[in-house]
Symmetry: C2
Subunit: 337 residues, 2 copies
């Protein structure tokens, strides 16, 4: 392994001078810099990150923590966040977490390894931040994407989210406006997932405003955010409550599972049952029928999030809890009754 010492020796300068050159600093004469750089290039030398990070506080690396492997919304957002972050001269490291893993505990572990300048959470539960956040926010600024941390009140832990309750309300109100009265809902476990809790609140708000029935055991099926679970729950819902004319699924992926289930049951969409999804992933524009869905603006989430994280990294720990708009995108999966 070639080290900075080797370069120094060969270039005929001290290690400090070489260190200055590789660090891209200007307090070294151009001539010296040039001759040292030549030696560096000749040997394809690059600094040992471990050694550097052992000294430096800041690694100029942003850690991206993603909850769940097969979340299409998150997959799209990783891309946006990465390009935003890289445009600022930082590098990125992606780490996937299992859906049921406690992301804050995992983060606390990982930050000692990676020593990131900041952390992005793609999906997170506010409760976890209340209990475990020892160093997140204190030693490392964090921005949570898609989930709101409003009310957390810890410095340097911000969030950019869509208004989940609003989104769900839009979905259900659209169904109501189209004449639906018996609406089933497929979602996550409201005990465990903030997102599910908020979206469920939006559902009940919309239904209550129109004095429509909603019995949790017959109209709500709680499960994971996956194709398979969407499939299974759609069947359960229809079995428990055959008079359903519409289903709102809290994610497009669940909606797509549900769509297939309804197909297998010989139930036409939107002919017999209407369907609304949530997230607005690209795929929702390619199903048969195209999904009517609640769109989360991925680009805005990524852009705003990066801006806030950079502000935190720069030293401003004042948390901000931004909300970007959610909107209904009409597809072909809802029928006016």
């Amino acid at each position: 392994m070639i080290t900075i010492k080797d370069i120094a020796r060969e270039a005929g300068f001290s290690v400090s001078t070489v260190s200055r050159v590789v660090g891209g600093r200007r307090d070294v004469s151009p001539a010296t810099a040039k001759s040292i750089q030549a030696v560096i290039d000749r040997h394809h030398f690059s600094v040992n990150r471990s050694a550097r990070n052992l000294k430096r506080a800041d690694t100029h690396t942003v850690l991206i923590l993603v909850k769940g492997h097969s979340n299409m919304l998150f997959a799209a957002m990783i891309e946006h966040v990465q390009s935003e972050v890289r445009a600022t001269g930082n590098s990125t490291v992606v780490q996937y977490l299992d859906e049921d893993e406690n992301e804050v505990e995992a983060a606390e572990r990982l930050v000692t390894d990676v020593k990131p300048s900041g952390v992005f959470f793609l999906g997170a539960n506010a409760d976890h931040f209340h209990s475990h956040a020892a160093r997140i926010g204190t030693a490392f600024p964090a921005v949570v994407l898609t989930n709101s941390m409003e009310g957390l009140g810890k410095p340097a832990i911000s969030s950019v989210s869509t208004d989940d309750a609003l989104g769900a309300r839009l979905a259900v109100e659209h169904l109501i406006a189209c004449g639906h009265r018996q609406i089933g809902v497929i979602g996550g476990n409201p005990q465990l997932s903030t997102t599910s809790r908020l979206r469920l609140r939006g559902v009940t708000q919309a239904l209550a405003a129109h004095r429509l029935p909603f019995a949790a055991d017959s109209h709500y099926a709680a499960t994971r955010y996956s194709l398979e679970c969407g499939y299974r729950c759609a069947g359960q819902l229809l079995e428990r409550c055959p008079e359903l004319t519409a289903i709102y699924a809290m994610s497009d992926i669940m909606a797509i599972g549900a769509l297939r289930a309804l197909g297998d049951l010989g139930v036409g969409v939107p002919g017999q049952v209407s369907l609304v999804g949530h997230d607005g992933v690209e795929l929702s524009g390619y199903t048969l029928p195209r999904l009517t869905t609640i769109v989360q603006p991925q680009l805005d989430l990524a852009a705003s999030g990066t801006k806030i994280l950079l502000r935190h990294i720069a030293g401003d720990g004042k948390p901000s809890y931004e909300t970007v708009g959610a909107s209904l995108r009409e597809g072909e999966s809802v029928r006016r009754a």
Copy 2:
């Protein structure tokens, strides 16, 4: 920041003994280990990776290089590879590359940063390895997944792939067996993508074996592996060649795009046009109609790949080029004519 020294002081032992405990070694008395572990747990101490890696030659980290952000097959495989690798006590770092980026150049850059014990490529072009691989294979063993590196002949660069030509042949032969004679193909640019080149070869082999026509300009549409491109190409294909009764798409994602396009054109699937995809992603079992597709066994790819990479890491640089079987999974998108 809490260090091994702090633990040592509080536990009343030397740093060496603590180091042995965190390293999980057995040359320390159970009683000592237990009392030290208690202190470690109390403080949620975990070793500083930078410092450890500064000493150790081996970082015990596997770099996973993924080509393209929204590849569902790769997304599923990341999950498998990660759990396989972690089961061996190594950690993983995921890096995404743009689809048109040269993955070998990127890897050469990244390995100096990460100093991984080994590198996984999810998707790669053999040509790039011929021209640029200076340190990959030499300093860092690598395993390419889904693309074959057969014939490369460089040490410690292996591959586990499905037989792409075979898969494509199975797809087309199935269509032929079902009575189709005019078969269109949607794929990638065979100049740029090894996968596309091999699958195209499979197509022409199958067609030639049955003396069926295949004119590249009318029967083949080359594009990127995306929903949108699948959509667009299906339309083009049908316009150029209206007598088509079947389409083979070189990825499920393209097939799903094509499915939607056919829907928009009022062309029934499989009624008027049959469709076969490739990859066997979970989603292909949830479309309407379910896709008939060529399945790449993700688990086998990940498991075999990990085994080979570990062998390379252990010092055995003999490359191996494994091929796992591809098979046809019948869905509902092909009609017997």
